[in-house]
Symmetry: C2
Subunit: 205 residues, 2 copies
């Protein structure tokens, strides 16, 4: 029977999903409440066939945690679990070596199918997830941003001033102003606060 290790910081969610999967009689479940605990348990038991990681969980830092897990266990199948991530995040996860992506909008039955799929060696990616719903794909506006503009936006999202951003990026304040102006017009917002709020809402940083 395949061993599955599921890591999610919400005990309730993790335990009930684990119980649901175990009830199917097809899998053996282990759980962890953060990335470090998950990696540790992997070490003790190398017979884990599938590692399921919650996108929002201590130690993850977005997709950085996925990379850590992937490097530590290049052979293990890894699936991402997320309630908020949009399609672009899912795409990036797949690029970074995830074997599957399970949005929490999936039904429980579909999740089981997805897991069977991944365990069979396929990669599971629900291309249709969230299509019709509101703003599930990163709005086109964000992909229009150039590299520098994106970096600037990232700094805006910590509430930094133009001067601080200039120092951090090693450029002049005037240049930052230019980038900020472009960001605002490309995102269609009126000021830096709205830009930061919008980016945060889309879970970009």
């Amino acid at each position: 029977m395949p061993n599955i290790l599921i890591a999610d910081d919400h005990d309730l969610v993790r335990d009930t999903i684990a119980a649901y999967l175990e009830a199917s009689g097809e899998f053996k479940l282990l759980t962890a409440s953060n990335l470090d605990e998950a990696l540790e348990k992997m070490g003790g038991m190398d017979a884990i066939d599938l590692l399921i990681l919650d996108y929002h969980m201590p130690g993850m830092n977005g997709l950085a945690g996925l990379e850590r897990a992937r490097k530590a266990y290049p052979a293990t199948r890894i699936a991402m679990l997320s309630g908020v991530a949009n399609r672009d995040v899912a795409n990036k996860a797949m690029e970074q070596g995830a074997d599957g992506f399970i949005p929490k909008s999936l039904t429980a039955a579909s999740m089981v199918n997805a897991i069977r799929f991944v365990l069979a060696g396929e990669r599971y990616f629900p291309f249709d997830f969230g299509t019709a719903e509101a703003a599930s794909e990163t709005p086109a506006a964000f992909s229009d941003l150039s590299d520098r503009e994106m970096q600037t936006l990232e700094q805006l999202c910590i509430g930094l001033s133009n001067k601080e951003i200039a120092r951090n990026l090693g450029i002049q304040e005037v240049t930052v102003k230019l980038h900020v102006k472009n960001v605002l017009s490309k995102l269609g917002v009126a000021n830096r606060t709205q830009a930061a709020l919008l980016a945060k809402e889309q879970h970009l940083f």
Copy 2:
């Protein structure tokens, strides 16, 4: 056997929790994916003993949805379910007539106990939840804000300018500047963007 209606927009979370509860053999479960659907199902079947509402769900608008549900069904027991809410939100939920508060940090077994509790006519509130963890209680800084300052902060959180805020609150722009200044110093942040981000991070608006 008591009837429970659980409403959560994440199909996966809702279905697995429902399955878990049903597996206990103590309850009969119904589900809904948003508040309107939940209220509708209540109407068709007035034998619902417990309504479980996710704090973040279409139609909820924070605790406004709880109030709607409470008004529509004054006699039904209602519990809130949340993965992010802090203790202050939980307190407010209890004040507004919730009979229980279930953080997702609870274990599955504790949730069942909590539900038994609520169905028995008690009010369930996990006083210890999130005590030791990071920033689970609304930082003191926020409670220092006066009414007007709080209203001003709320407007900041939509990225409005001082002028717009002044118009919305029916006061002069200079006054808004005063409120903003006070908010910044009370929250210990450098500018309006940081204030907005901080408030959003604490899920205040």
